[in-house]
Amino acid sequence: MKAIKLLAALLVLTPAAALAADRVKWEPDRPEFKYFTERGSYDEKSWAELAPAEQEKALEDAAEPAAARQQAVAQAYRPMAARWDTAQLRYYSSGLKNSDINAVYLWVGKQEGHELAHKLFTVREAVNKASVSGLGTEDEAALGQYLTPEAIKDLHSMKFASDLARKQAAGIKDKGPASGSSSKLGKLGGASPSKLSAGKLSGLYDKADQSGSPDMGTSAAVIGAGGKPGLQSGKPNATAARTIKYSAPEALQGPAPKSKAWTSDAYGITVETAQGTQAYRKSSEAEAAIRKLPPGSVKKIILYGHGSPGMQTVGDAVYDADGTAALLKDKMAQGGVIQFAGCNTSSIGGATLNPAVGLSMVARRLLYFSLPYFQDRADGIPAAQAREQWEKGWNADLARDTSLGVKGAVVCGYRTFGLVPGRLPGLTKLLGTQEATSPGVVAGKKACYQDGKEVPAP
């Protein structure tokens, strides 16, 4: 009798034990798994290798943040999918990035992501066209499904369109719409942002590209700092050190003969590593070389070109704080230096007795606040909206913001307009610096930051 009871008990317990030991299958449509995908915590393969208890724990931990993230993305997506009014047009056309589209692909649906990408592409093209040659009847009809009549009417203003096109090209984010919809999708709710890598989502977007989705690389911040996200993507959980094979940057092809041009076209990126210093005219080549470098190997990098509050150009490439941080955050050595060699790449700072610095402050306020503010007012934009937008922007601190994204690195910029003797007509010819890739002497007030705090210039 005892043996029968034991047998019965075993019969009951065995399936339960078997069930308890079963691994949970990877379900891409379940929020927890979307969350893992977005964070880059697991993929199907690494998930299958987890012990059942670990799987259970991971699912339990992810349940709440995944639900919150899904709700946040859905909420932010709704106004993006509706027809955009003027404020939304200004915000979304310049502010949406690949990471936002990827979030929609992942959390809302591939079809929705594809449609949003197409909408953004169409609208950006229309803005560019409107700023150059104006919109035709066919363009208006095509935009009808994406924009409100009022927004289309505003696009007819060449001034409005060219301003918007400039912001698109520069990746300058505009003021968000008044509703909560302005929240960007690229940031993870609840998760540690430091663990987010845009590359982890590249697979989704690459597939979308294959299915005919337009390349959204027109977001300048993305272009500027390395093209489409995902260029560094490896296996989830794999470190950059394991996935990226090191190869030193290619050497420049011999010293170029000195130019005899009168005016300057100087810009470039100079990267200093333990292997030596390399200078690049083309930012795409510099970015490719930087991506090949092992983590923590860049001792100093100089981005030389034209700067303005919150951004720096190097030739055609545009770098903002997010884009620069995305490119360099794993590459900088502890205490390594990122130098933005461009005007106004740091905030104006405190009061000064130096008249040149004072004049520079005045000029910055006039050029980056007064002028655009009155232009906006002339375009019929409400005073409060124009004020909020330009008050935020005119004193932006690219160096400080970048230092927050590249922990441990010292990020320097200029509080003032910088005067580079090598750029002056005549001296350019004398010094042969027309295509110089670093500025040499700069007359300007420098400021450096580490983790958001001001530090002495190294």
Partner: protein, 77 residues
């Protein structure tokens, strides 16, 4: 009111480089170089004249600097 405030601010900012020029003109007028037959200038007069010159020419250089910056910003140079 917002617009008015910003118009006022803009006028004041634009006037900033004029202030040292105006001060320079004033000091140069107040302390002219000595004409023939007049007693030589004192040290204080010489210093005031020098300050006037510095303010005048420095102010003009400042205005020139702002013009260059604005032209550069507008893509003209």
């Amino acid at each position: 009111m917002t617009d008015f405030n910003y118009i006022l601010e803009t006028i004041l900012l634009l006037a900033v480089p004029i202030v040292p020029v105006a001060a320079g003109v004033f000091l140069r007028g107040k302390f002219p170089p000595p004409a023939e037959g007049q007693p030589p200038r004192t040290g204080a007069q010489k210093a005031a004249r020098l300050a006037g010159n510095v303010l005048f020419w420095g102010g003009l250089a400042g205005i020139l600097f702002m013009i260059v910056v604005i032209l550069n910003f507008k893509g003209k140079i």
